[in-house]
């Protein structure tokens, strides 16, 4: 054993640790809500203020809650993916949560880019968002038949996320 063996081993270990640390994405904060019941709320719907929406209505179904806003740039990137998969009939019901938006802006956005949602709930002041731990739009929650959050996508859903994470999990939960 050379006298440089130990320093070298320690150095290699450190480099390894740093490499792992640098490749982690600090923007992706694991949600403490995974495995917990989706927080209850009741807010007006985007398209019709007179009608309310509450997650209770979705009990018994696997569904997605997609948080979006007309001012959110990444939502523009994500939206066509949701529209495409919804049109192909591959997605379970998707409920939109229009987060801290203006009603006209939200409606205009849907008219322009397509509306893949069963409905959109209107979270004008972001209160629902706070209960769901939303800190960067878009975010998407996959909720099972019992109303438990099973998966959270932070940032836009890409076709890859859809194929590798969301669809397999939906299939499994739908059984």
């Amino acid at each position: 054993m050379n006298k440089f063996t130990w320093p070298l081993v320690i150095f290699i270990l450190l480099v390894g640790l740093l490499a792992v640390g640098l490749n982690l994405n600090p923007r992706e904060v694991p949600s403490p809500l995974i495995g917990k019941p989706a927080p209850a709320f009741e807010v007006a719907q985007l398209a019709d203020p007179a009608r309310k929406f509450s997650p209770k209505e979705m009990l018994g179904k696997v569904w997605l809650l997609n948080v979006w806003a007309s001012w959110c740039v990444s939502c523009r990137e994500e939206h066509p993916v949701i529209v495409e998969y919804a049109m192909k009939g591959l997605l379970p019901p998707v409920v939109g949560l229009n987060y801290k938006d203006k009603r006209e802006d939200g409606l205009r956005w849907l008219a322009r880019f397509g509306d893949p949602y069963l409905l959109s709930a209107f979270d004008a002041d972001g209160r629902v968002g706070i209960d769901y731990g939303v800190y960067g739009v878009p975010e998407t929650y996959l909720i099972d038949k019992a109303g438990v959050i099973r998966f959270k996508q932070i940032g836009p859903i890409t076709p890859e996320v859809m194929e590798k994470k969301i669809l397999p999990l939906v299939k499994e939960l739908d059984k």
């Binding site: 923007r27 904060v29 694991p30 403490p32 972001g126 706070i130 800190y135 960067g136």
Partner: protein, 150 residues
């Protein structure tokens, strides 16, 4: 002379008025505000992650500060307010990590390193000491030294 004093007084008053406009608006309840700042200073803003919730200008941080104010007003304790945020955003919002099995190493790491350092130093010193203490000359060595000195 009198008018000069009057003008100066007016200017001073004006300046004060201008300064008053720049000052931060007084919170409705300073006690609530103080507690809110104390709590949020120890919490991380999730949008700009290197800022505290107290200092961040992100919209979410503003909303959360408002939420904290309301929780305080509704009579929640500091711990309950922190718990409210942790239950939504996870331990990540805490600048001071909680002591629990996953964080044992984090908390004890520096002390473990210190102890390891002290042990290594002690070992090194002891070994060096042993090398420094001169072994008495053997008979053979003494004779050779004497021969050289003659």
């Amino acid at each position: 002379m009198k008018w000069l004093i009057a003008v100066m007084a007016a200017l001073v008053l004006l300046a004060q008025a201008a300064l008053a406009k720049e000052a931060a608006p007084l919170a409705e309840d300073p006690a609530v505000e103080q507690r809110m700042v104390k709590i949020t200073e120890e919490l991380r803003c999730l949008v700009c992650q290197n800022e505290s919730l107290a200092g961040s200008q992100a919209d979410l941080a503003k909303d959360l500060r408002q939420e904290v104010r309301e929780l305080i007003k509704s009579g929640k304790s500091d711990d309950e307010v922190r718990e409210f945020l942790v239950s939504r955003y996870g331990d990540f919002v805490l600048y001071r990590p909680r002591v629990k099995p996953v964080t044992y190493l984090l908390w004890s790491g520096p002390f473990l390193l210190l102890i390891a350092g002290i042990l290594a130093l002690m070992r090194y010193l002891r070994r060096r000491n042993r090398q420094l203490t001169e072994a008495p000359l053997t008979e053979e060595e003494r004779r050779r030294a004497e021969a050289l000195l003659k």
